[in-house]
């Protein structure tokens, strides 16, 4: 594929994610931090986010499964998840976490379970989208980003096209 076309696809896709609220401005900031001395920055941060989140979601599931639910611990986990999602700009996950913490304050176990379901859902959604952007499950297909780089182009920023 032509570099231009790839770049345009990348941008369109990123734009779509912004418009649908999956990502917010913080994600653009991350892209700004990627440069020659740090060429895989976005990839690294997002991978870390996936690792971190999956661990937290796991811990949350276990915690809510207990006889005596420890709401303090739950709140701590959700706080962490809120922090990391906010740091990479995963807006919908972050917002769900905020709601989750409110329910946690009420010490409502039922409510918490519902929230956990929601968070898991949002997380899976944003994970799929980010993977499409940066890395793909199916190994023989390159991600858009990798294709652009392979074709000799630079990953475009939103500003470039405005």
């Amino acid at each position: 594929m032509e570099v231009d076309q790839l770049q345009r696809n990348f941008l369109e896709y990123t734009n779509l994610l912004f418009r649908e609220g999956f990502l917010d401005g913080q994600f653009s900031q991350l892209q700004l931090l990627q440069d020659e001395s740090n060429p895989d920055f976005v990839f690294e941060v997002v991978s870390l986010f996936f690792e971190d989140s999956e661990r937290l979601l796991n811990d949350l599931t276990i915690a809510l499964d207990q006889q005596n639910v420890d709401f303090k611990k739950i709140d701590a986990h959700v706080h962490q998840l809120k922090g990391s999602s906010s740091s990479i700009g995963a807006q919908r996950v972050k917002n769900t976490c905020i709601a989750f913490r409110d329910v946690c304050l009420e010490q409502n176990a039922e409510g918490c379970l519902r929230c956990l379901q929601q968070v898991k859902q949002e997380y899976l959604l944003v994970k799929t989208k980010l993977e499409a952007l940066l890395r793909v499950r199916v190994p023989h297909l390159f991600s858009l980003e990798q294709q652009i780089v392979a074709a000799g182009g630079a990953i475009p920023m939103l500003n470039d096209f405005c």
Binding site: Q26, L33, F49, D52, Q80, S86, G89
Partner: protein
């Protein structure tokens, strides 16, 4: 015997005649005395009338009317010197309803003659100052002119008028009725001289009073301005200011400079942002947004009166907040260009920059209740309130905008308001002239803040900093941010690691304070203790996801120099680092 009788008869007749003449003479003298008495009474009344009014116009009008009546004059006129002092202009007449504004050069011989003596002088009815009646077939009556001294203008600092060091006079011209045989009598001339003196005294009183009222107005305005500033500051203080904000507020409050002159000092335009921080708490209580955008081509430092500019800005923004119920306020600051032909007014105002100065234009746009375009001119007048309901709650006296206008005028600028009508919001715009500082303080003039993006990278290379955040993703992002800016970053996950790892080489420590279960404040205290002896100990800054007051209070209490809201953008971090390195603290917090 008839011969003897005739001489006797003759002498009796003569005596009779003599007596008659004498009697007639006495009568005449009695008449004269009575007239003089009456005249004297008239003079006293006239003097009283003149002196009882302090209005210049009334003084002069009354004089002419009463003189006319007392002396039975056909015409009485007053010529006043023009501002240039080169001409006399016909200013008041008794009979003509509208003085047409004739002027005569002041150097005419007849005028010089009158001005050189304090006596009333008979002048020719044909001289230019006496030709007040329409031409016709008549024998003009005798004319007398007298000078009326006016007090030196430079005693009173009347700003509009040029200073004149020579004595100035007005000329009063009095004409007896034409076609009569009347002549000016000595006592009438004396009366005229006395009246001229009284008029001079009355005019000087009026001038002094005018000046003192002006001074009183000025004092009142300044008191109100101080009051406004104090009130704004007090409201802001309730919502907790950072120490540097408090300093600025105190400076405004303590301002004891009551002169109407400007203090032209170095004006730091980024302090405009600080002014905002006084308004933001109030606005956020009303759930209004406040945004500020400063154009990148604004110089960082300029020369001007910062206090007054701040007062104008606070006043204007305060008004915007006051009259807005929902939505918010947008403030834009940029360099004014003279191609703004779309501006409704003024027609004569061209903000043309030069090597030494530029024009700063600030627009404050609100989504508030708007203003009826017809009411806009009244806004800048003193004591006129066009919104009585709002005025009840505002506690202001309606002087705010009038003061702003005065200050803006002093800064050779202009202020006006645009609004499409009630309910459509309003935009207040003011332009002021500021100087461009000379190349004295090169080190201060770094145009760093205002340059966006990657054009100019400030030099943070090798700056050693520590980041403490227990969230791995957050830690990585903050580290990435700082590395991108050139810093040498040590990232730690716990308070313990942090205290252990901080060394005196580290200039800044970023602590995440929103970690539940970890007392980051304790960490800050311990770091401070570790470096208590060192003057250049690291600056500690808080990173937090929540901006509630308790967090901020706690941060300040443990000596943190700033609070930053996560997530932090690249630009924000760059500004933060610049700020910290330049001032040693954050001059603004979010």
């Amino acid at each position: 015997m008839l011969v003897h009788i005739i001489p006797d008869l003759l002498s009796v007749k003569t005596r009779e005649l003599f007596l008659k003449n004498k009697a007639a003479e006495l009568d005449r003298e009695m008449g004269l005395i009575r007239t003089q008495e009456e005249t004297g009474r008239h003079v006293r009344m006239l003097t009283h009338e003149i002196r009882s009014t302090l209005d210049r116009h009334t003084i002069l009008k009354t004089t002419l009317v009463e003189l006319g009546r007392t002396l039975g004059l056909e015409e009485c006129a007053l010529w006043m010197p023009t501002r240039s002092g080169l001409e006399l202009q016909l200013s008041y007449t008794l009979r003509h309803q509208n003085p047409v504004g004739f002027t005569v050069p002041i150097q005419l011989p007849v005028i010089n003659q009158v001005f050189n003596t304090s006596r009333a002088v008979k002048i020719s009815p044909n001289s230019p100052v006496a030709r007040l009646r329409p031409v016709g077939k008549y024998m003009p009556g005798e004319v007398v002119a007298v000078r009326v001294p006016l007090l030196h203008l430079n005693n009173f600092q009347i700003h509009d008028w040029p200073e004149l060091s020579t004595k100035r006079y007005a000329l009063m011209v009095l004409m007896l009725p034409s076609d009569s045989a009347r002549q000016w009598h000595v006592h009438e001339l004396e009366l005229v001289e006395v009246v001229a003196d009284q008029v001079a005294v009355a005019l000087s009183h009026a001038a002094i009073l005018e000046e003192s009222m002006r001074a009183r107005d000025l004092l009142m305005e300044q008191n109100v301005a101080l009051d406004l500033a104090r009130r704004e500051a007090e409201t802001a203080v309730q919502t907790e200011l950072m120490p540097e904000q408090r300093l600025m507020v105190e400076t405004i409050l303590k301002s004891s400079n009551l002169l109407a002159t400007l203090i032209n000092d170095v004006l730091d335009l980024s302090r405009l942002k600080m002014a905002l921080n006084l308004i933001k708490p109030i606005a956020s209580v009303k759930r209004l947004y406040v945004t500020l955008s400063m154009s990148p081509d604004l110089p960082e430092y300029s020369v001007g009166d910062e206090k007054r500019l701040m007062q104008v800005l606070l006043n204007v923004v305060g008004n915007a907040v006051k009259f807005t119920k929902e939505g918010g306020i947008s403030i834009a600051a940029f360099v004014a260009k003279s191609d703004s032909l779309r501006d409704p007014e003024p027609l004569n105002f061209f903000p043309i920059p030069s090597d030494n100065h530029f024009y700063l234009r600030i627009e404050v746009k609100d989504t508030g209740s708007g203003i009826n375009p017809q009411d806009i001119p009244k806004l800048f007048m003193k004591f006129v309130q066009s919104q009585p309901l709002a005025a009840k709650n505002s506690g202001g006296s309606g002087l705010g905008l009038a003061i702003c206008k005065r200050f803006v005028n002093l800064m050779e600028g202009h202020i006006w308001i645009e609004s499409e009508g009630l309910g459509r919001g309003a935009t207040a715009i003011f332009i002021v002239k500021l100087g461009i500082p000379g190349r004295l303080n090169e080190s201060k003039l770094q145009f760093v803040h205002k340059v966006p993006g990657n054009q100019v990278k400030p030099n943070f290379s090798g700056l050693k900093v520590v980041v403490m955040d227990d969230n791995s993703v957050g830690r990585m992002v903050t580290k990435g941010l700082l590395v991108h800016l050139g810093c040498d970053v040590l990232a730690v996950a716990s308070g313990e690691d942090c205290v252990r790892a901080v060394s005196q080489e580290h200039k800044v420590v970023f602590l995440d304070v929103s970690i539940p279960g970890v007392d980051s404040f304790e960490v800050a205290v311990r770091i401070h203790e570790k470096f208590s002896k060192r003057p250049d100990r690291p600056i500690i800054v808080a990173l937090t996801g929540n901006t509630d007051r308790t967090t901020k209070e706690n941060c300040l209490r443990v000596g943190m120099k700033g609070v930053i809201l996560k997530p932090v953008s690249l630009d924000k971090m760059r500004n933060v680092l610049s700020d910290l390195l330049e001032h040693g603290y954050l001059s603004e917090s979010q």
